[in-house]
């Protein structure tokens, strides 16, 4: 499991994982073989459930988003490939979407328990949890059923490591912690429909039998059990009866004491059932002033206080929720009516509260996968650009590369704009968005530079950086495996400063990095003697590096100072030497250093290129490095687990800058022989 970020559970949930998993097993036992499906879901059912609005992470989002990221965390993919298995019928060997997988986990848990859902990257994990013999390849996917026997040992190991900060744990320890959290999350998803699935026994209680015996389909017959919704509707009545019994029991009546225990037991079971099914919060509250949607314990509390009258829409939603489970037992085809009715009802409730707005757009945003597509377009543009350099007279290749790169940039821009609409925020407010924005801006600037100065250099660099940036964005999303549109903390809740500071400072990062990458061409060209005598080419590259550095200086300076002013409004000081602030300052200082060194004649083209390449490592430090330190006020920007890649980037950039010095020395020795000054030599 390479997923690396923030998978810690809150302390209060830790102790109950075994209980939940054991409950899973007990439910399995209660269900016997349980319902299974062998045919695909009707299309309309999957489409409906994808757009089911749920509240998670403080915002209303489609169920599709929840399912995608849950599967991504556990499986490192957004889809799940099923093995060839005759028991799966038509599903054998097919690929499930995230929503289909989540529906199976919730509605057909016994079947989903056999799916290879959990990625384990190291078979040593199996040895640690006592399942050594069950291990497959070094890295493989395992089912819930395969892992369940090791859960108790896993919890013991987890208890040993959970207090250790993530960055101090070994790789194996981290994998254990992630696996534990994944299993816990899975078990909670598995229980979402338990409240609709499990019937509560009425037992010998006269009060309970009187309360439920004469209603519904069981009228006239002796009822043995009752469902969650029916019990909840009568909760207030039951509570009153309970209070009366308490008074009677206080007077010393043996029968009342026994009856009291039975009713209390029933109410406790009802509450426990609600607790177990609370993972997905899908029920909008009746009170329009209330922003928190209801989970089932919330339903329990509201009905206990208010009774069912103010909650007609909620009661109907609960009934439809139970209908979904009932229908699922008759096979996935039977879900078409009840499934869609349930989702439509919840959507209607959300719409009346004005909270349905972005649901369909978010689903289409994820479906479109703009950035993944853009990555391939950039890659194609880069390949075309590479061929273009081999066939320099071909205008068609240049235009093709320009066209494909433009299409890729348009895709990135569309994706960013959709995110802005969905979040009602400026383009950058999270670390993930900095990658998108920096890549988009870099590619766009390269296209503009290419139009102004059509030397094909910017075109090639833009395509390469576009592909690289989109790849980094993809990997970040895969590793983080969390919703990329989180709610912002109070301190960040200002679109003005997000627009003014974050956007400009990010543009400064983008431009500084672009200058550094353009400078690579200069250094490698000089080092390997490419177009050695073509001064126009090198002058163009150097001019481009310098021009982009000017752009970078403007935006990084404005962005850094505006960040200070924002900090002054938020924390009461303009400058606090916080790591993130320092990182931005270092970029400004370095850009100023290069411009002043050039102005003073201390460096020329090759020297500027070497300094610009070194500047890349400063950008990487500011952008990612300070986030790995885990100190400072910019706690919302912390990111762990990327040390290796960031350090690798530093060393590569320092290495290339070192090669630049070698190129400078080579030029110098050539110049000593030929009598001309090398490019990087000082004139003073």
């Amino acid at each position: 499991m390479n997923a690396v970020h923030l998978r810690n559970l809150s302390a209060r949930t830790l102790s109950c994982v075994i209980a939940v998993l054991l409950l899973c097993m007990s439910v399995s036992a209660q269900q016997g073989d349980g319902p299974r499906r062998t045919r695909p879901y009707p299309e309309e059912v999957v489409d409906a459930f994808r757009t089911l609005p749920v509240q998670e992470g403080g915002r209303i989002k489609p169920f599709d988003t929840v399912a995608r990221f849950a599967l991504l965390r556990m499986n490192e993919k957004r889809t799940l490939h099923l093995p060839d298995d005759p028991q799966l019928g038509e599903l054998s060997g097919t690929t499930l979407s995230a929503t289909e997988w989540a529906l199976d986990v919730m509605l057909y848990p016994l079947q989903a328990d056999g799916y290879p859902t959990f990625v384990i990257a190291d078979r040593d994990v199996f040895d640690l949890i006592g399942l050594g013999e069950a291990a497959k390849r070094k890295r493989d996917r395992y089912s819930f059923d395969e892992l369940l026997p090791g859960v108790q040992k896993l919890e013991q190991e987890f208890e040993r490591y959970r207090e250790i900060p993530e960055k101090e744990r070994t790789r194996l320890q981290n994998q254990l912690v992630y696996l534990y959290n994944d299993l816990y999350e899975y078990s909670r998803l598995r229980s979402v429909f338990d409240a609709a699935r499990i019937q509560l026994p009425l037992g010998e209680s006269q009060i309970l039998r009187a309360a439920f015996g004469e209603t519904g389909e069981a009228a006239g017959a002796e009822r043995q059990s009752v469902g969650f919704t029916e019990a909840t509707i009568r909760l207030q009545t039951l509570m009153e009866a309970y209070r009366k019994l308490e008074q009677q029991a206080g007077s010393g009546s043996d029968i009342s004491e026994l009856e009291l225990q039975r009713v209390a037991g029933f109410l406790n079971n009802l509450r426990d059932l609600a607790e177990r099914s609370k993972f997905v919060i899908w029920l909008p509250p009746a009170d329009h002033r209330e922003s928190a949607w209801l989970n089932l314990p919330g339903v329990f509390e509201e009905y206990r206080h208010d009774g069912p009258e103010p909650h007609a829409a909620q009661t109907e939603a609960l009934r439809l929720y139970e209908d979904v489970v009932t229908a699922s037992e008759s096979g996935s085809g039977a879900l078409a009516g009840p499934g869609v009715a349930f989702v439509e009802h919840v959507r209607g409730m959300a719409e009346r509260r004005g909270e349905l707005g972005g649901i369909d757009l978010e689903v289409s945003y994820h479906d479109a996968d703009w950035f993944y597509k853009a990555q391939w377009f950039y890659l194609l543009a880069f390949v075309l650009a590479a061929v273009m350099w081999l066939v320099p007279r071909s205008g068609a290749l240049a235009w093709s590369s320009f066209g494909v790169s433009s299409v890729a940039t348009v895709l990135v821009v569309i994706g960013i704009v959709q995110r802005c609409i969905l979040r009602e925020r400026p383009p950058v407010s999270t670390l993930y968005e900095t990658i998108l924005f920096i890549t988009g801006c870099t590619a766009l600037v390269c296209l503009i530079v290419e139009v102004i100065s059509p030397r094909r250099i910017a075109l090639s660099v833009g395509a390469a950086l576009g592909a690289l940036g989109m790849f980094v964005a993809y990997m970040f999303e895969m590793n983080d495996a969390k919703d990329t549109m989180p709610q912002l903390q109070a301190v960040l809740d200002t679109n003005f400063w997000l627009g003014v500071h974050v956007t400009t400072v990010t543009l400064g990062y983008a431009a500084t990095m672009l200058a550094g990458f353009v400078a690579h061409i200069f250094v490698f060209g000089k080092l390997f003697g490419i177009r050695r005598d073509d001064k126009t080419f090198y002058r163009s590259v150097a001019r481009m590096t310098y021009g982009v550095l000017c752009f970078a200086t403007l935006f990084s300076t404005f962005g850094t100072i505006s960040g200070g002013i924002w900090a002054n409004d938020s924390w009461g000081r303009f400058w606090g030497w916080d790591p993130k602030e320092n990182g931005a300052l270092m970029i400004v200082l370095w850009n100023l250093l290069i411009l002043h060194a050039r102005m003073g004649g201390l460096v020329r083209n090759l020297g500027i290129s070497i300094l610009a390449i070194f500047g890349n490592s400063i950008v990487a430090f500011s952008w990612w490095g300070v986030n790995l330190m885990g100190v400072g006020l910019h706690s919302y920007g912390f990111q762990s687990g990327l040390n290796f890649w960031v350090n690798m980037f530093y060393w590569i950039q320092w290495g290339v800058a070192g090669l630049g010095v070698v190129a400078w020395a080579m030029e110098r020795s050539r110049a000593a022989g030929g009598g001309t000054l090398p490019e990087g030599a000082s004139t003073s």
Partner: protein, 406 residues
């Protein structure tokens, strides 16, 4: 001769060489100071690197290597900027952008200088309904002696400059006009915790009434340190001196009965600073995003009372109260474990800074200067390129063809 020396000195101080060296050293210092925060915390790193004249870095962790600190670098940069960027530079319109940018940077550095010299910072905590016209320093301590008198409370304040350096075993003897006794401060500790002295063994530190103050490692976040000290009151009437422990979090003052029958309370507390108005907290609101613990809003409805009378204000994150060179920011709230309906307090950061808005002005001046300078350069570049392009039929291919033909 003198003129020549000044000219030479001016040449060096205003040179681009020096600018580049200073920028390189500033970058290095910023990097070192940032990395150091991981193990020494922000406050100590700030003191060592950014607010020092000189710091010593150990190469390979062993060889000491002195480097100029932030104060030195910023001061020399300021001079370099004034001489090289404003005095020596030719004042012509082509350089207007550079000149404007440098003026903006001077303004920004000036803001930092004024703040460093004149600003005070602290915090204020108010429960709903409470009011205050003072706030407390984050870092500075003071010892306060109070005596109840007919018309209120009479105070004597010993600022920490009097005793802060007494933590290495030395003592500070304090007396003041109107005080009927003298007292001595021993073993001032920047961070400490009170402990019960062992009943049957020697206490590791001087104990008073069965308790002693145990020195603690300094916290990385300096404001979390809790100072403490031992004091001895010399009554001057032949009675044995009264000993006591003062600790920053102590709730009740140490009481001293003087020879003349007057009673005094002595406390060690964060330094109290006055505000030119009174702030009353009317209501505090805090909100989380639904079904999460992610803070969404902190907001304080306050009444500010000054000579002009009361005025209502809202203080929230990113929207501080600015009045009379004072800035009051929403910074925290508590108790964090408060149950629903429990009384809450609102935490404010308070800063007095006459140059508070200077960075805002400097930002726009710098942006304007850079836009002008780089904009002119871009226009010249585009002009040159359009001339070059006009020589080739296909803008994308022309340059490449040129290269091939060459």
């Amino acid at each position: 001769m003198v003129k020549a020396i000044f000219s030479k000195l001016g040449g060096v101080l205003g040179s681009l060489w020096l600018s580049v060296a200073l920028l390189a050293l500033l970058t290095l210092m910023t990097w070192l100071g940032t990395r150091a925060q991981e193990h020494m915390g922000l406050f100590m790193a700030q003191k060592k690197y950014f607010e020092s004249w000189l710091y010593v870095e150990r190469l390979a962790g062993i060889v000491p290597f002195p480097l100029p600190g932030g104060m030195t670098l910023m001061s020399v940069l300021f001079v370099n900027l004034l001489i090289g960027g404003l005095v020596k530079v030719r004042w012509k319109w082509q350089k207007a952008g550079i000149l404007i940018t440098h003026i903006g940077i001077v303004l920004l550095l000036g803001a930092g200088f004024v703040k460093g010299m004149m600003a005070t910072e602290g915090y204020l905590q108010l429960f709903e309904g409470e009011r205050s016209s003072v706030y407390r320093s984050h870092h500075d301590w003071e010892i306060v002696l109070e005596e109840a008198v007919d018309d209120g409370v009479r105070q004597w304040i010993v600022p920490d400059g009097e005793f802060l350096d007494r933590y290495d075993g030395r003592t500070a003897r304090v007396s003041a006009e109107g005080l009927p006794f003298k007292f001595t401060i021993h073993d001032f500790l920047l961070n400490s915790t009170p402990m019960t002295a062992p009943p049957f063994a020697a206490s590791p530190f001087p104990a008073v009434d069965g308790a002693y103050l145990k020195p603690l490692e300094l916290e990385l976040e300096h404001e979390r340190n809790v100072a403490g000290c031992r004091i001895t009151v010399d009554h001057g009437d032949g009675r044995a001196p009264t000993e006591g422990l003062l600790w920053g979090f102590e709730r009740a003052p140490m009481t001293v009965d003087a020879a003349d029958g007057r009673r005094f309370g002595i406390t060690l507390r964060k330094k109290e600073l006055p505000m030119p108005f009174t702030v009353k907290l009317d209501e505090f609101t805090h909100e989380y995003y639904p079904n999460t613990m992610i803070p969404k809003v902190y907001m304080s409805d306050v009444t500010v009372i000054d000579e002009d009378g009361p005025a209502k204000h809202k203080i929230r994150m990113n929207e501080p109260l600015r009045q009379d060179d004072m800035i009051v920011f929403q910074s925290s709230w508590g108790p964090t474990n408060a149950r629903p309906g429990e009384r809450l307090y609102s935490g404010f950061s308070v800063v007095e800074n006459p140059a508070d808005q200077w960075p805002w002005y400097s930002m726009w001046v710098i942006a304007a200067g850079m836009l002008l300078h780089f904009g002119l350069m871009l226009l010249r570049f585009i002009d040159r390129e359009s001339v070059a392009r006009s020589r080739g039929a296909d803008p994308l291919v022309a340059a490449a063809r040129k290269g091939v033909e060459a």
